[in-house]
Amino acid sequence: MVPLPCCGRIIVSIMKITIKLFASFREAAGLSEAAVEITPGTTAAELWQGLVEKHPGLAPMSRSAGMALNGRYTQPTTVLAEGDVVAFLPPVSGG
């Protein structure tokens, strides 16, 4: 998925991923799941920033956001790949 030089321009390839939001995040953004397109090299943290820009209600929750990649906890620095499912998780409170 390296950008290919072609015709004097850079073609940026696009990757499709799925975002999942839960609990207060879901309510603040008004969505529980969304298909989004990102450029290669995008990290989980950058994806969250993009979300916050689109849904400013999420901004106060940035500090507490946990992240999961394909159903496992992951770091904000993780680079995403085509087809990934990225979940943003408020602090858990089960039991």
């Binding site: 839960f22 207060s24 929750m61 979940a87 039991g95």
Partner: protein, 152 residues
């Protein structure tokens, strides 16, 4: 039976890790974890309390990232099982809106002797509360709040 198929998938018998919208039974989980070599099963039963921090609670709502919650419970369960030499362990969490007195979670651990069963059940519960992606909203007479999620 979802539980049955999962046992097969995990390859470890006498285990069950499930998120469900249905009411929970303690006896069901005891039956799952019990083997003929056990003398002790300890269960933890979490229920909806009518108060928190001095405020009256009228209901709780649980939301889960179901696939991940089941995988996390399995990861915790297998680790606890190995650490305490259990013969079986099961964790079942309910989702949806629950009234006061209803059961939100059941954990059952079986072992040849009681000390391991008590320790394992308590540890599994602590770890469930730390990392399993389930969220609780408290409903009061005059409002509602996601627990531990700030402005939520």
């Amino acid at each position: 039976m979802i539980g049955q198929s999962k046992q097969v998938v995990s390859g470890i018998s006498h285990t069950l890790f499930e998120v469900t919208g249905e009411p929970l039974s303690v006896d069901d989980l005891v039956r799952v974890v019990l083997t003929e070599g056990d003398g002790a099963v300890v269960t933890f039963v979490g229920t909806v309390r009518d108060n928190t921090g001095g405020r009256n609670v009228v209901a709780l709502e649980y939301e889960a990232y179901t696939e991940m919650a089941e995988a996390e419970m399995r990861r915790i369960g297998i680790e606890v099982m190995e650490k305490w030499n259990l013969h079986g362990i099961a964790m079942r969490h309910r989702t949806g809106k629950l009234s006061v007195g209803e059961i939100s979670v059941v954990i059952a651990a079986s072992a040849p002797h009681r000390e391991a069963a008590f320790q394992a059940c308590s540890e599994a519960l602590d770890r469930l509360k730390e990392t399993v992606p389930v969220w609780k909203k408290e409903y009061f007479k005059d409002g509602e709040v996601w627990v531990g999620q700030g402005a939520g």
